[in-house]
Symmetry: D2
Subunit: 359 residues, 4 copies
């Protein structure tokens, strides 16, 4: 009810503030007998971790996940998987400069009004640090999907006004993590990287967008009415910090289109029944149809900037927020593994749900 | 688990196929003592009903809702509200022409693959007829919100390439339902209407977008992590038939913006602490901050067109789908009350959830 | 949240008051392709119906169930099954004698305090009439269980001080519904019947107990911690009107026993690994072990008696409740199909849950 | 879905095996601003802990709970409360003697069949060690209830054939924890203690029963149909290891009673409307009526005995289980704080649920 659980069958519940003892979670409903590839899980976590490159914040966190239960001899047992990631140096900092002030476009004001007793240290529960737990669970979900041949490719498609417009089949996704931006096109990645560094130098931040492509999704995932597959994917993306929009298939181009253009006609192929086009984005009536699923997620520029901003104190007095600290200038490079993780959580949950619709 | 329930506290569960005996639902968790304005509920339903104007399908359905329980002396009792809407003429038609064929961009193929035993008459469960039940529940939710002063304004903002770009405060929402398109600007509405009629004459359909504005939403609605207010609004919108995208606040403009532009600075006003701008769209950290909430929902062109299309039969043979029947040429005019209903369901649910976060 | 839904995968949500338009429900999550035996469903309903024999109330209700959705060509489609049972003569009676009075050991007082706006006609939502919806859903659940060979036998084991003490294997369950008491032993049934009639003549009521035996339950149903199979069975039974206690296996004899007596040793048989005794009641660690599951449910005497009783009005004044109307003198004969229905709902839900614990 | 979560609003999710790294849990939905009394929480935990007295197992576990999140300046923040209890010496023991054998009346056989990959060390997830997490959450729930004046008294009412039959008002509950048995009557406690020691000397175990009394429960807790207050209490008790039965109010005496005896007549008192008797056990129609709530929970004798028993190996061969190790001879003394914890969890959950039934 307090919204810290995601999923219906493969369920992740998370806890933790950025400056408490630890963050962590419980994965309940993971099927038994899954061999865990701990290196893969840690690698996904490392992709989200701050301090990886000159593009990201220089805060150092080792982000080592410890599993506490639910695993025996390297395989899942069907019992809940408890895990935690220690917070480091959580006591050292001084937060007096923001303790009583509301940072613009942060959650300080709304948390204060909703809860009253607010952990103001580093954003507390509203910090994106919480997403590390999503990456842990999402990596395990990916391991299940890999067994079913499902492939998820997320990449930075836009930073500011620089956009990668290629078709999916023109891209080499093995290159995505070869650069710091996480864009599979090296030339575009370079431009994006330059823009981020320029914006950073100005003490500013910039928004971006992530594109996701899912290949080999089984036909039949998704429920027909409220839990349409794209509705659950949309909620998953919109639950990530800084996300402002979600579109799948034709998305926000659809309003301008005609039905005769947009309809995906069926044809018989050697590969079974396929559609000639894919404006549907691999989902029809809320249910996957076996074609590529693709969607795009829009992120705002990070709210913490290195400039002074007008604000108001808890007591209602005008004040100023000083720009200081170490923060990313653009959220999307580090958000790629988070988008992938949330995608995997939705797909695995619906994969398991699809197993119970027949006797 | 099968996805026919929406909401956590104010819960709507629906049933019904377009050509079965009836559609209907159960609203569980409606607070006790709410005086029901049956005329208001029916008026909202009538706005969704087919056959209202020359823009919409000429199928006639009276869509009278009957309440079966949960109401005593005109007020809710706290027990579940059962309701139904009879289907008319459900037995008369001939569906042999689509029984074994997959209509492009409809749910025929995915239902066939997911379920096997598919009610092919008029789309069955995938028909937008199901949304009438959402309007019933959403209208009751609106009655609760009205008691809290919350106002919801949805309107057609785009049809094809015609878009209403005015600021909210330049619009007179009392005019929205004065035209058949449901656009508050009469001149733009006329252009949209002309476009729809032109497209219809061509046997084609066209997409559109609906804008929603929520005024006077209490501060503090929404949960911080997975059930962010905008994530639940996004899921609600994406669960409506034909929706392809959702954005709130700065939305898909955010990727191009700088933090220094996008941040909404706080200021002290006679009206309390307010933000100077509202790129956040009234929601920060997933929680309403008291400013206007606004979001935009993109709809694809309706899949049923009056032209012949290539397709494949259940048996895998190439075939053709004939364009016939009475259908809308653009979904957005009739979708306005559905968008409002889903918005109301999300807000009431979070309003009730917010009551339990304090002792 | 308002407690009108039962089950996690095979979910029943019910609505309806005893004197409203209709009662009914939605079954969501029923697997696709189940052939429905409508005669079987109606037969189960008829066993619960009042007016069947001289032992039960002479109120006449036809209790015909109408299915509104989710069924196509006689089989389930995987979409929600909506159903309703009309209430008859719901407007005719005069309730002024109980409108402002709290009947002893009824729910009048607690509903008044909890809700304020109470439908006082015939008990409203607290009436056992609601259980008819459980029987509809439970019958469908039984049809699924029959496909898996699971057999459920419930019978009246006690009325007042008359108790059937035979071993299960000494009983012929085909005889249970051959008498009005629903006890498989004709001689004991006769004594029970005589007692009920005697009590009835005195204007009084008497309690009873129902024993349930489940044969051929698959091994592995039930979840290890909170949703132990017997915990869910216990909740199911305790949710039935008038139930005061639940025990399974050794039950309330267990406190007096020694471990050396109570432990069910394993042995190898031609039939696989079996236990020599079955004090566990077919469930170990919350999970079915393949042995017979058995449990006993205790019912209080019905609160409506044909005698005058002291009470208090809504306004807090001392008053008297007159004994009048047509009511059962003992609840257990009509409760047998309800106990069976709730048992079937729990077992089917866990059967479906068990399908998702493996990849 | 895997059954490791309890509660609807105040939700506890637990993880952990007896011999893994740690056990722990997440409490989601705890209201904000609750001052935590850490000594009280630890004291409750200590009452459950093994090694406290000569009656209980001599295994030493310190059972220190560490809170990881959700608390700021000693008060809850409304965000999830993560906690853990380290397991000690989890690697040292040798389990080869039970690795491939099914201990009678333990969960070895059912876990093996359900999961395949079973953590056989000390019972794994089926170990009662998991209940320590319930005590942590239940203690926090008790702190909330204390603010509302609700008092919970659980005590050992029966061990073997020794039973405490006094009326509640004849007992001094301050004495319950003054003896090792946790029975408020010192003389009866002595007899129980003697019996347990005698049974222990014989290498055997004995069952028992715990009585619970709740005073000052607010009127109106519980939902009318499936989530009746006593149904949720029953499920809570039946989910505790070794429980075989649950009864409330008149319980298993009800079947023998007449309605004229059993009905609790209302009367006007200085204290408002009260019932003259309380066979209802403080709950009518599933909803608390303000009278004392009382119920009784039956426990079987512990399955681990110090005698050799016949069994079967995983491979299906006859074998013998050796009686060894350090175990309790009777579960009820240490189960008292668990019963109280589960009672508190149910009451707080319904207390919070009751806040949303009115607008």
């Amino acid at each position: 009810m307090a919204g810290n659980t995601f999923g219906r069958i493969f369920q992740l519940t998370t806890f933790g503030e950025s400056h408490g003892m630890a963050i962590g979670g419980i994965i309940d409903g993971c099927p038994v007998g899954l061999k865990l590839d701990f290196d893969f899980i840690q690698k996904e976590l490392d992709r989200r971790r701050p301090g990886q490159s000159k593009l990201t914040t220089q805060r150092k966190e080792s982000d080592r996940v410890e599993f506490l239960s639910g695993i025996f001899k390297g395989e899942t047992t069907g019992t809940p998987i408890g895990f935690q990631i220690q917070n480091e140096d959580q006591k050292s900092k001084d937060y007096s400069h923001i303790q009583d002030k509301f940072r613009p476009s942060h959650a300080d004001f709304t948390y204060e009004k909703k809860y009253g007793n607010r952990d103001y240290r580093g954003g507390g529960r509203s910090s994106a640090r919480e997403t590390a737990c999503r990456v842990v669970a999402g990596s395990i979900a990916q391991l299940i999907l890999q067994q079913h041949g499902v492939e998820i490719y997320s990449y930075v498609q836009q930073v500011g006004n620089i956009t990668l417009l290629n078709e999916f089949n023109e891209m080499d996704f093995s290159q995505t993590f070869e650069n710091e931006v996480r864009c599979p096109d090296a030339a575009i990645a370079k431009k994006m990287s330059d823009l981020i560094l320029e914006v950073k130098k100005e003490g500013d931040t910039v928004g971006g967008a992530i594109q996701t492509l899912v290949k080999n999704c089984p036909v039949g995932l998704g429920e027909p009415v409220f839990d349409k597959l794209h509705a659950d994917l949309g909620k998953a993306m919109l639950s990530i910090n800084a996300v402002k929009g979600f579109e799948y298939g034709s998305g926000f181009c659809a309003p301008e289109m005609r039905g005769s253009q947009h309809n995906d006609e069926f044809e018989k192929t050697d590969d079974g029944i396929r559609t000639k086009t894919n404006f549907s984005g691999g989902i029809q009536g809320g249910i996957s149809n076996g074609e590529d699923i693709y969607f795009r997620t829009a992120f705002k520029p990070i709210a913490t900037i290195m400039r002074n901003q007008a604000s108001v104190t808890k007591q209602g007095e005008a004040t100023e927020i000083e720009g200081k600290g170490r923060h990313d200038a653009c959220v999307v490079p580090r958000a790629v593994p988070i988008v992938t993780a949330m995608t995997a959580l939705v797909l695995v949950d619906h994969l398991l749900r699809s197993k119970i619709s027949k006797i």
